[in-house]
Symmetry: C2
Amino acid sequence: MTYSIGEISEMLNISISTLRYYDKEGLLPLVNRTSGNIRVFDDTDVECLKMIECLKTTDMPLKDIKQFFDWCEAGDSTIAQRYELFAVQKEKTEKQIALLQNALDRINYKCEFYRIAKEKGTTNVPGLRDELAMKFLNRNAEHDTADK
Amino acid sequence: MTYSIGEISEMLNISISTLRYYDKEGLLPLVNRTSGNIRVFDDTDVECLKMIECLKTTDMPLKDIKQFFDWCEAGDSTIAQRYELFAVQKEKTEKQIALLQNALDRINYKCEFYRIAKEKGTTNVPGLRDELAMKFLNRNAEHDTADK
DNA sequence: TATTGACCTAAAGTTAGGTTTAGGTATTAG
DNA sequence: CTAATACCTAAACCTAACTTTAGGTCAATA
């Protein structure tokens, strides 16, 4: 199966200009062209793009993704580097998930805090501590006092 | 307890120039100054900065973080908006974690693939499929054929 | 008193990862 | 044959989030 750039754009939800940008940056070294210079994508190009999306999700910079594809092109002599790249990315991604989980816990606490504050009509809820909200409350109280 | 910008920078591992940038962008509306115009941070400023770090982890843009602090300053009339902000961010973060987990699964597969490829000295490992590696193998094979 | 180190501002510069624009080519439907 | 649509390149532009630079102030120390 082959696809035009427009079809790939629809399939993978990547804008046409982004696909061309990736190509220009050397991230799609295997894309063929017609005699009329038009890009022809096949299923393995789709695999490449899915790998790009996967690595981009983990915040790998495009230049590192390109490095990976360059190593792929270079052949079996670069297997160790490629292994290393994924081993490092695995570590980074696990850390990133842990950080996000931590952030999510704090956000859940805030959700709960504001859910109750919404019910009560005030952030000054006895028994529910929120340093940040308290700071603003105190600041506003000082203002009010100063105003008098 | 109060802290200088340098102490805060060390404590939270945020560069001094970034702290000043946040202040300039209005993300630290509550930081006091000495008579000599020097910033004096207190523990609630530390809380603010931790909240900024938390939200930044979840990829919230600084302008949205500023919006949150602006709502905090505005007082109880913005509780519903603040609740909504955290509810939305909770959803986004859960999705982001799921995406990352998915990417991690693929990366783990790649690690395993390259661990074995490293052992065997080739990516052409029978029984272990890797579309991407195969593409490069085939391409190189075509090259070799064309070269003859 | 002089120097050192930490602080200040404003403004320019940087980087990644695109998008937009301008001008042109290729393919297909009527 | 021609008009519409999809494709092409090169180069300029854009945005977020910083960082760097240049020129100056403040505070403690020798």
